[in-house]
Amino acid sequence: MAAPVKLTIDGKAVEAAPGTLVIDAAKLVGINIPSFCYYEGLTLQAACRMCLVEVEKAPKLLAACTLPVAEGMVVRTETPVVAEARKYTLEFLLTNHPLDCPVCDKGGECELQDMVFRYGAGESRYSENKLHVDEKQWSPVVFYDGPRCILCFRCVRICSEGMGVGALGIVNRGAVSEIAPNHGDHLECDECGMCIDICPVGALTSGTYRYKTRPWEMDHVGTICTHCSNGCKTTLGVRNGQIIRGNNRDRSGINGEFLCIKGRYGFDFTDHPERLQSPLMRVNGKLEAASWSVALAAVAKKFSEVRARHGSFGVIGSTHTTNEENYYLQKFARSVLGTNHIDHHRSGDVVTLLDALSGTAGSLSTTADLYERKAVLVVGADLSSQQPFLAFQIRANYRHHQARVYVVTENEVREDGIAAATVRVDKGGELAGVHSLAEKLKTESELVIVFGDSIKGEAVRELVAFGNSLGIPVKYVALVDYSNSRGALDMGLVPELLPGYQPSNQPGMTVGEMLESESLEVLWVVGANPLESAAMKAKDAFVVVQEMFLTETAQRADIVLPAASAYEKTGTVTNVTGEVQRLKTGPSTMGAKPDLEIIGLIARDMGLAAAVGPWIADKVFEEIRATVKGYSVPMAIISAGGAAHTMPVNGRIPVESRPDLIHSSRDNLFTSGTLGRYSKMLGSVMEGRQA
């Protein structure tokens, strides 16, 4: 590291690394220099002139956003001259800007409004008519109101640099300049809404949120996205028990401000009209509404009866329910129902990876590693489409640290554009493709390998052997599909493993075997939809389903219990890289209950509550921390809304990982399994229909 540069900002001594910009150096001592076009992490634009500062010995004001620190520099950020310059800048920005803040969607959280409030360009000397152009809608997600645009280029840059999409540009010149979408009158893009949330003013607004509320009328609930496995933090704006928006403008969480369309707009399933709000019971062949007490009693009665005669239970768990729910469900199944027929849909071979890595330390990558490590190898996955946040991390790593990215995939992927080397392989040829990169990878100093479901079983061991042969530190990510796919495995929702990857040593049926079994007496499905694509052989089996919607599986049920969504409960989930984070309760749906509570109430009605313990998420998590290998994570991190890395490796896992059952749904940006079908926003964008 070169010696730090010493300078003075507003009388405070500052030391900053050479090359630091004055605007960033000021932040080191708590001084916030106003800016519109400057945006941390994006290329410099120097377009707005809001950041002008006085620098001693400089003949005129300088833009702090493009000025590198220099030894002995004396900067003043709030002098009368500076304030006056900012005021004039604002006066110019307001010449054609509508002054209707009371009805603007951004009112109350607009950076322009804040700046005018601070520097008081309250009177305009501009007496001409303001230029007006009508608002445009570019997609179900994105609306653009030209007159409000201050041409800061943030949207253009986040889309091309952050997203790697490049769907926005600036057309025309001078006062008639405006932002334009990539297809003339409409957008064809990721529909992520990054451009909308980064817009400092009300020029870009979202189809989901616009003109529905004022920001201060909402409660802001930071929780974890319930769609893919990446575990992005999303802050839900909740008003009157309804989610009005999702964003992450406070840039907290592992994802900073990143969210894809699912995390930002895909919450609308929570108040979908088909949402179940009452238990249903089959009466004369038809599902009819019933009260909770009647439905729970019926379930308890049936369970007790079958249990008493040692009948056969099958339990299928979810990839979206919390760790607490998964843990509690398997505990209930194994210790109360006495069955080991418990499984869930598996999407990645985490088990073999953990086994192959036994005896090593620090071999599991975090999402932060994808941004920080010097090289990344992507094997058999279209990250930008299937694992959006991981892809964002890798792009940012490339932009900020010139990370070397290697790609081995069947088809073209967005990562090709930043790749140091790309290998196209036929299906099944992924490992050979990886081997062909050996010489190049050996020249790297460290590597993260991210692999999809084409690498499973023996192939995972070979991949790890390959990693070992490189002679450099290698970390791994085994990709999985959904928000708690990883937690389902960690919590032992598979017949061969107990929580923490301890072998169960008891025979148990897999999902497929349960559906094939003719002698199954009870099938209990918690938040999964196995009958979407398969039939069930046991015609007379009693089926209990905990669900949000009347899915294919729920339609076959004898009793349906309406479940709360992940946005309506507390508990923790574990993302694709094994980071545990806590959910917070946003809205609530009348009539629905969290799965944990439903399971607990069934136990209570069976008179066996003591055997499973209290159905309180915090209590169950305490038990998980105490008993599940890898989950003794610091509570302080979890409580503060942080992400704690679980370390489930070490010691062999002496079971067969069943690679034959591992299959990724390969959801893209606009699908999300069964859940995605109930999001109108995901279904409304044209890119979703094409895919």
Partner: protein, 162 residues
């Protein structure tokens, strides 16, 4: 899109005229040469240029809409550009503009019905010393008066009469 052999050759040369990786620099000359031949910058051309220099059509659009000498709408066979900037304005440029507009019965950036002439009010064309100045396609005309303009337009018409 198929280009004329002439244009094809120009494009090929342009692509080698800039250092490797800087092929985007060829964007403006490509658009200018093609516009001269096609009379306008079509959407097809935008996409073709984007493809050849490796950028998005939107990035071509950004440049195209920024520069007033690039036109998406077809121009007349003779594009008459009248300067009304300061030197020309002081010496009769504005009257010249009024005269031309009245005579051709078209306004700024419009094309006459027969497609022969189009008109554009332009900023300084760098001929202040000989103001008022106009430019017809790539030819400059100095110290222009309404009478001189009439003769010029008539001359162009008869030269093209069949």
């Amino acid at each position: 899109m198929t280009l004329s052999p002439h244009l094809e050759a120009k494009f090929a040369k342009l692509l080698t005229s800039y250092p490797p990786g800087r092929q985007r620099s060829a964007m403006i000359p490509m658009l200018m040469f093609a516009q001269d031949e096609l009379g306008q910058v079509t959407q097809e051309l935008v996409e073709e240029v984007a493809r050849r220099i490796g950028c998005t059509p939107l990035q071509v659009e950004e440049v195209l809409t920024y520069y007033s000498m690039l036109h998406k709408k077809p121009l007349g066979k003779y594009h008459v550009q009248i300067c009304t900037n300061i030197s020309c304005m002081l010496t009769g440029g504005a009257e010249l503009w009024e005269h031309a507009s009245g005579k051709l019965r078209i306004g700024h950036r419009e094309v006459a019905a027969d497609g022969f002439f189009s008109l554009e009010e332009v900023e300084c064309i760098g001929a202040c010393s000989w103001a008022p100045a106009i430019q017809v396609n790539y030819d400059f005309h100095h110290h222009v008066t309404p009478e001189k303009l009439d003769r010029l337009l008539a001359g162009l018409r008869s030269a093209n009469a069949v």
